[in-house]
Symmetry: C2
């Protein structure tokens, strides 16, 4: 950071902290709703970080090399809004007065995209911390990819505020363990250790030695910092530099500090203080100003506009010098940080679809996905893959993948288990052919810790952590994260998928081994309700492709989307389906006619039916056509790889695909209720409404009567019922 | 334990371990599917535990005072099946030959209810550990409730096998932290520390100092035990006694031990060794017997039938002595351990419903739930409540609730935050009026550690851990667990809800603050898709009651059910609805006619419509009736508090409530697609298909057009469309 402000005098920091306090409690009071306890308790910590450490430019919240700040305990949103307002962001005082009101820029919890300077949406506890790990990881990898000797164009830190709630959540374990393993040394977490959560004193339900726990993760821990002493917090923040490890700063605070009657109690956590207690607080703090009025001299202490402009200007100078020496890298950096697709992207898409079509391969769609990844990664060096310890099953790696990891002396040898030939680096580590991304791994010497750059993250068995880390990576910009697990374990990460949808992050979730095709692993591993339930999350695109070509298009649509996508892929082989060029183009509409009936019914035909199918069941629908025709029923097969995309199409498209009045039968190896919205009460659905069983896949399809014959039977029923 | 076997000689333990190994790899080979690595690696650990420590009776897997054994790394299921078979459970060798085949007793992952001796269904990693915490907690509480001086009728241990995967999962943090806080000293976890997970050597993604981490949770940790030395594991297991804390035994093992070519590699984790390697392993172990043949002398070493019968007989003697002194307690214990409802249960139900009806109160359904809990707890001392740190919001406590907790010298004072008046015991701790459960807390002196018995668990901010712990409590028997959080955070625990449904455990999940009625906390906290998506989980009952009476019936149905239920409750007040006695009885059907149209249409009426509503939207439907009648449309209002229950009713009931052919409009503050299965393509749905917003609830209902007028408009549309 170029322009560190001089340490302020004690009275100034006191005034600053109290300004944050009063804005917070006055806004909560005006809203008659909100959480005063955390802003009151973390005010000095915020002053220390924001006035003495945080590198940011309030005039340009998108400056790529800004430090990232995350309020993982997002219920304390007023603290952040007060900081943003006073620092000079485009967040006028009137917005603070409209805290928690409809369409204000100050919603109840911080929302990325709504408020300038809010880096991620928080509230669901623990996820902000994991987002921060993702941002710190993105920074570390971008630095290794783009920095050059003498040119550190990527060099910023990630700061996270977290409370007891965040640290009780399981995701804090997953995220902190990964951050420690990867030695993300520019990540600093400030722990608001106030001993109180909503139910009261945490000692009765959270007796962890948290510092020891984080040391067990390999973190640098600063213990017992007085969280109400700005200088003490300042010193702790300085100690976070140069340790080669992520840092946890344990700040002892009093929740609701400043409130004479409620400080140190859970009563102050999540309800307005009440007008009387606000006034008592005002008097106790010696704060003479009316609500929402902050004296100019205190505003001046906060205002980071000038410093921010200067910092960014200095960085821009550096960047122009970099551009002079490395014009291609500079252009690529700018493209990447803006999430722009490369110029030749559409050519790559055409080639991908053409190749898949020409190869006409019958493979599992997880294999088709791997082929798509390999092809796309040649055009998209921003692809940052990974898996929650199922790489060989999810097939999320590819020939150009390079493991992100740590160069340890004791790599793999610290378990005493070297009796075998196992390799810890399955996805191509040591192979520098990373598919066009030639700058990867090229300048590790430029960085202080042992993290090896790369484009593949072994997330470990941490589905929720992985997904929230991916969201952080996507929010940071510079990479396109995708990560895999079995579809059934989307349950573990479900709220992170929801957050991705709410934030519109471009995270791509690769869920393989869908439904009973998984076979012997049994009902715990067989996703029967997951396709349907993921489709219910607003803004989450869900693809369940039926073959190589649909899988390729699903990838293309996911890459091109501003928002998250889930790819639901089969373990078992699925037959290739021949298509016209027009049909290939139609896949992007989410649902399209794959096999049509004749334009006029033959004299022997007495009815029509539309068969709607997805994924592994498209083949069943296709197999049913001939038998239905023989019985006088003309069948159209609609492949519906993405209902969420199809639902967004114009009515004309939807009615052209699903003509009103023609009876319909849907077939999918999952819960049937979902399909009523497409087939109606009188339509047919072939599916599974119970949990699966443990048996070979073929035995299961027979057992659950998921067959072409079942489709034929349902088609007969609905065709005759409605004729 | 009364009849500990004498330590076996080294050759015997070697033979026993190899018998487990060979059964496992031969079964995996026969199935051409499965996970040989863990059984090969944990064979000696299993021998040490099962032959020298585990107290169980293979002839009666339901013996209440048996030790509980949990295979949290459930993919190693063949190890458990081999142990059960050889120990004398009703699991013949033919079932092992049919490993992973349809309807065998040996599914791919262990399933409670399918295989005698399997205590819980495992496979989704980490949850078995949390189930174990629940079982250990249930044991500790039952002991405190039922044991008497000189009579320890509840005195058993819980053992968990766990691997790296379990310990990477976030839920391991939540469960272990809670177990450490509550000092569950009869819980012992055996950690298979083999340094390998599916992606390879874990050092690159899991560098935790796990022993230090568990010590930070307050566990007793036995480090660096040679997992292939039966005596070493035996000694470690002995060290687990009398520490006053849960114990983690860190066993260093080689995954796939015994396989000459694959031991120590991830290749051995999840795929058959192959016929050649199986034969090499057989030779390397010096195992001369063909597949599935175990010599009688080795069988005799394993057979626990005689010891088990003797142990249970001894316990039964103790129990009869207990019965002589404490006949009421003995009868109550038997009732509780069998999950039987008390004799006067139906009276209590009638009183509950009558009282709710007479009070005619307009309160939030979360408040109605609290009233139901208070009433039911008087009849059901087995009710064991709790919340994931939202007690005051979920209203899961009641006047008779007594906090489960720890008597610490430093209770609440170790955080230096004693400046306020907060109490760590909000739900009635210190109040010994526990609603008829007079034996609670009466004999803590009988137990070694500081755990206070009680009937309310402060689970901390650990939604997933809470839910899986609840499942463990329910599986243990003796308590009826319920726990609360906000509905949106059901996402965090979703897979535990699924597991509850798969296992049919009687866990009751109290989800309050549903949908936009939550108000200002905004979209992160507003569940719009959750009601619908929970209903898709097979076997999970979901209730969204509209007032006090429906809430009471929802509780009754949940208590009476063999299986899990979710109660979705409002933050805001909902008006009481008057009902006939017949209508009150009809609530249990899940959907019923709340207000009917006249039996004949009036001359001025030209159409009928059925309005279907749930929870907070029932009032909107009722409000729409008059306006519709004025417009000549006769409206019936169907209240549908539980679609899942309604769907199980006979066709005659369903068609009597929703007469075919009459147009329908559904109204629910959630995603609309779900309701197509009830209203069809031509019906109407008033709902919300996007995320919510942060604003006061009333503003949100207006903004999202969730109003009686919207119901009227839709009813007009569909009535005219179909007339």
């Amino acid at each position: 950071m170029s322009a560190v402000a001089q340490p302020l005098t004690v009275p100034a920091t006191r005034s600053m902290a109290d300004a944050l306090r009063m804005l917070a409690i006055d806004a909560v009071e005006a809203a008659k709703s909100g959480h005063p306890g955390m802003p009151l308790g973390m005010a000095e910590i915020a002053v220390a970080l924001w006035s003495r450490h945080l590198k940011h430019n309030p005039r340009n919240p998108a400056w790529p090399d800004r430090d990232r700040f995350i309020l993982s305990n997002g219920h304390g949103s007023m603290l952040l809004y007060a900081l943003l307002h006073l620092s000079g962001y485009d967040l006028p005082i009137d917005e603070l007065k409209r805290f928690r009101q409809l369409h204000s820029k100050t919603p109840g919890h911080p929302e990325a995209g709504v408020t300038p300077g809010v880096e991620t949406t928080t509230g669901p506890l623990g996820q902000g911390l994991a987002n921060g790990v993702g941002m710190a990881l993105a920074e570390a990898l971008l630095a290794r990819e783009f920095n050059r000797p003498g040119h550190r164009i990527v060099d910023h830190r990630t700061y996270v505020f977290a409370g007891d709630g965040c640290l009780m959540e399981g995701i804090s374990h997953e995220a902190a363990s990964l951050a420690g393993t990867l030695q993300l040394d520019k990540l600093t977490v400030l722990y608001d250790d106030n001993g109180i959560s909503i139910d009261g004193h945490v000692a009765q339900w959270f007796a962890d030695d948290t510092p020891a726990r984080f040391e067990a993760y390999g973190w640098h821990v600063v213990r017992e910092v007085d969280g109400h002493d700005v200088d003490a917090v300042d010193r702790a923040l300085q100690q976070a530099h140069g340790t080669g490890r992520p840092t946890l700063i344990c700040c002892r605070t009093v929740i609701g500090q400043g409130s004479p009657s409620k400080a140190g109690t859970h009563d102050v956590h999540g309800a307005p203080l009440g007008a009387d207690e606000v006034e008592r607080t005002r008097r106790a703090l010696g704060w003479p100003h009316p609500p929402f009025e902050i004296p100019d001299e205190i505003r001046a202490l906060f205002d980071a506009s000038a410093r921010g402009l200067a910092d960014e200007a200095e960085w821009s100078e550096h960047f122009e010098a970099y551009r002079k020496h490395y014009p291609n890298e500079a252009a690529e950096f700018e493209r990447r940080i803006q999430d722009r697709l490369p110029a030749h992207w559409r050519d790559a898409v055409r080639a991908l679809l053409r190749d898949a079509d020409c190869a006409a391969a019958t493979v599992a769609t997880r294999k088709a996905s791997q082929q798509a990844i390999a092809a796309l990664a040649r055009s998209l060096p921003e692809m940052l893959g990974g898996s929650a310890d199922l790489t060989g099953s999810n097939l999320t790696d590819w020939p150009g993948a390079i493991d992100v990891g740590i160069d340890r002396d004791d790599n793999g040898s610290d378990n005493g288990n070297e009796s075998g030939n196992g390799s810890g680096n399955r996805s191509g580590n040591g192979n520098n052919d990373n598919g066009g991304n030639s700058s990867n791994n090229s300048n590790n010497s430029n960085n202080s810790n042992a993290l090896r750059g790369g484009n593949y993250v072994h997330y470990g068995v941490r589905e929720f952590g992985m997904s929230a880390v991916m969201n952080g990576i996507a929010l940071h910009r510079g990479y396109l994260p995708f990560g895999g697990t079995f579809l059934t374990f989307s349950d573990y990460s479900r709220n992170a998928l929801r957050m991705a949808a709410l934030m519109k992050t471009r995270s791509i979730f690769v869920f393989t081994h869908d439904s009973i095709g998984l076979g012997e692993d049994g009902p715990t591993h067989q996703a029967v309700e997951h396709a349907a339930s993921l489709r219910l999350i607003p803004g989450l695109d869900v693809w369940r492709p039926c073959d190589t070509v649909e899988t390729a298009q699903a990838w293309v649509s996911a890459v091109e989307r501003k928002g998250p996508s889930c790819l639901l892929l089969s373990r078992q082989n699925l037959p290739f389906v021949a298509r016209s060029g027009e049909q290939i183009a139609a896949i992007a509409h989410g649902g399209y006619v794959l096999r049509d009936w004749p334009s006029d019914l033959a004299p022997t035909q007495h009815a029509r039916v539309v068969l709607i199918a997805t994924g592994s069941e498209v083949a069943l629908a296709l197999d049913a056509i001939a038998q239905l025709e023989a019985a006088g029923i003309a069948a159209r097969v609609v492949s519906m790889p993405s209902t969420t995309v199809f639902d967004r199409q114009a009515l004309a498209w939807r009615e052209a695909v699903l003509p009103p009045g023609v009876p319909r039968v849907a077939v999918e190896a999952g819960v049937r209720a979902f399909w009523r919205q497409y087939v109606g009460l009188d339509g047919g659905v072939v599916g599974i409404d119970t949990f699966g069983e443990s048996a070979p896949a073929a035995a299961l399809f027979a057992h659950f009567n998921l067959s072409a014959q079942a489709v034929v039977d349902e088609a007969h029923r609905v065709a005759h019922g409605v004729r």
